[in-house]
């Protein structure tokens, strides 16, 4: 097994390449994915290897990218569509929620749409308007889709291959601000029969509080756990990976031990994933809860301009504040002099 140190974008690139080598029904399509290799270079070099029909630069029309991918899936292909930025997925919304999500059930199981929809998402890179959205909850509320998010290179590599191999349509959210972070990736691992993408993973073990995060916030959550450690607070950090369906078995097992849950995400609070996780966990282990689940999230505002994003995206301090609240230590942040 060869291991390489790759950035997350290179890891996804390697996963795409591997999937295309393994299965010639895999095709990649999107705006600027070919010659340019994508604005984040995630598809770099693929067109040179696989030609301009398996790696298709498409006209500038997101609904058509998704709609034609459906037709390609009908024709036996496994399209991987890139939506250039989170904020550009909405023109394709109808094709995703009315077509991609419903085709299998509409046709009573006769049509499968093994599509992967890659979406760079979230803020933290100082981008212009519409380049920092976190629209995942719109898709997790839509039945018929699977939604995953990755948080590091190794995971990104494993999960992109699983997403492409899945016979269900999968939205694959890539946290933009983690593209350039490096990590070791086991490159030629044969996919495990137990799919990573179906399972949340405990990225830091702990006993006092369960902290659930995904995508770009996993790293922040780990940093928060490390900081809390120094004060004797033991945080268990769970990286959800699958946002739909959520691996509640894993989350509940943790909360039953800790009795306290904090959920962090960048998306707005109202109706975000935190709401579902809080509600579902409360239903499943009400009597184990020592405190109401706490949500640390983006505010209920459109994603703000770059100079304000640091206040909107939950950071270490805001997550620790959430941890304090779930522990009924409302002022400890202040005590620490932070």
């Amino acid at each position: 097994m060869s291991t390489a140190s790759l950035t997350m974008s290179a890891a996804i690139n390697a996963g795409l390449r591997r999937a295309m080598e393994d299965d010639d029904r895999v095709v990649v399509m999107g705006e600027d994915v070919g010659k340019l290799g994508g604005v984040y270079r995630v598809t770099q070099g693929l067109q040179q290897t696989f030609g301009n029909r398996r790696v298709m630069d498409t006209p500038l029309a997101e609904s058509a990218i998704l709609g034609t991918a459906i037709g390609l899936a009908y024709a036996g292909y496994r399209p991987v569509c890139e939506i250039q930025f989170d904020g550009f997925v909405y023109p394709a919304f109808d094709q995703i929620v009315s077509q991609v999500a419903r085709m299998h059930s509409r046709t009573r199981g006769t049509v499968k749409l093994p599509m992967t929809i890659r979406i760079p998402f979230g803020g933290g890179i100082g981008a212009a308007e519409h380049h920092s959205d976190s629209p995942e909850a719109l898709f997790t509320h839509t039945s018929g889709l699977r939604v995953v998010s990755v948080s590091d290179p190794a995971d990104a590599y494993a999960v992109i291959r699983e997403a492409i191999a899945s016979d269900d349509p999968v939205l694959y959210f890539e946290p933009k601000r983690r593209y350039h972070v490096k990590g070791d990736v086991a490159l030629d691992a044969t996919p495990s029969p137990v799919r990573a993408m179906d399972h949340a993973r405990v990225v830091a073990a702990g006993t006092d509080v369960t902290l659930v995060a995904y995508g770009g916030l996993v790293q922040t959550a780990l940093a928060a756990a490390a900081a809390a450690q120094t004060e004797g607070i033991s945080i268990e950090v769970i990286d959800l990976r699958s946002l739909s369906p959520i691996d509640f078995e894993a989350v509940v097992a943790s909360v039953e031990r800790t009795g306290r849950l904090v959920v962090a995400h960048e998306a707005s609070q109202t109706g975000g994933l935190g709401a579902e996780i809080s509600a579902a966990v409360t239903e499943r282990c009400f009597y184990s809860l020592e405190h109401a689940p706490v949500r640390v999230t983006g505010f209920d505002i459109p994603f703000p301009p770059a100079k304000l994003e640091k206040h909107h995206i939950p950071d270490l301090d805001r997550i620790l504040d959430g941890v304090d609240r779930v522990l009924d230590r409302p002022n400890s942040l202040q005590d620490r002099g932070w």
């Binding site: 609904s63 058509a64 991918a69 459906i70 037709g71 899936a73 016979d167």
Partner: protein, 365 residues
Amino acid sequence: MTADLLEAAPGISPFVSLLGPDGHRDETGEFAHLVADIGSAELMALYRDMVIVRRIDTEATALQRQGELGLWPPLLGQEAAQIGSARALAPDDFVFPSYRDNGVAWVRGVAPVDLLVAWRGVAQSGWDPFVFRVATPQVIIGAQTLHATGYALGMQLSHSDAVAVTYFGDGATSEGDVSEALVFAASYAAPVVFFCQNNQWAISEPVRLQSRTAIVDRASGFGIPGIQVDGNDVLAVMAVTRSALARARRGEGPTFIEAVTYRMGPHTTADDPTRYRPPAELVEWTAKDPLTRVAAHLRGIGILDPAAEARIAADADAVAAELRAGCLAMEDPPSESLFDHVYVEPHPRIDEQRSAHEAYLRMLS
């Protein structure tokens, strides 16, 4: 200031016609050679198709009136457009239709009763698309044109010479998806035929609200050749469809066909066209009925005698009787089937909800 503009009719380009309302067949026109093989027997078969799909339509409308179907969208008046085009297809071609294209489904071999499944509400669709190479009817206006374009890209990738054909209405041409489909099809020279049935109305909206120029003109601006055809002329429709299919198979890319026809009935059984449609219009178009002219022609050449008429009518009645029996025999799906086929692969939340629902049902019973 623009009330007058809103009333003006779109310019009508010259269009392909081979069998006029009087039943006269043009055997020399530009497109005539494309249907030279359609002799009297073949024309008789086309006529039979049209009679049968009209009969299916009548029966389904009756079933709806009797409360057996939730809704039905009649194709009355569009038989030639659908039969003429669908009979031009090769078995390997793949159709992406809308909800009104029952005639197309009939030609592809879909059992008529399977057309009713969705309207009776027992399932969202009635057949396996891969068996008949016709997708289940699309309700979201225009969405299927993109699926067809994508399928055509797939055929290119596979070096297949199958063509994708998509059916949609005049109203659909206003949806962004249809324009985007034209962009993609043109860009990749995809083997897809855009078959627009301009039946003059989108529910209560006349075609002039969707376009100030002939619908067929839309295509050229995308670099796609357009052909306007008398949509009530089964031969002309077949000829232009064959020409478009041949072009696609030669690798020359997409063609847009505007079949000029008329929705003689309501939009659906829930609609009352007298609220918005001038009665004179129906009279005018009844004179161009797609069946009448074929019958006139066949009578003129002496092969549609009363006995033949009766045979066809009997065939149609048999289809209708089977349709009715099949409809009434359809069973309601069990409530557990709610959870079927939402996903291909196992899904814990679905499993959980299915179990909870089953427990709930056990408790109730």
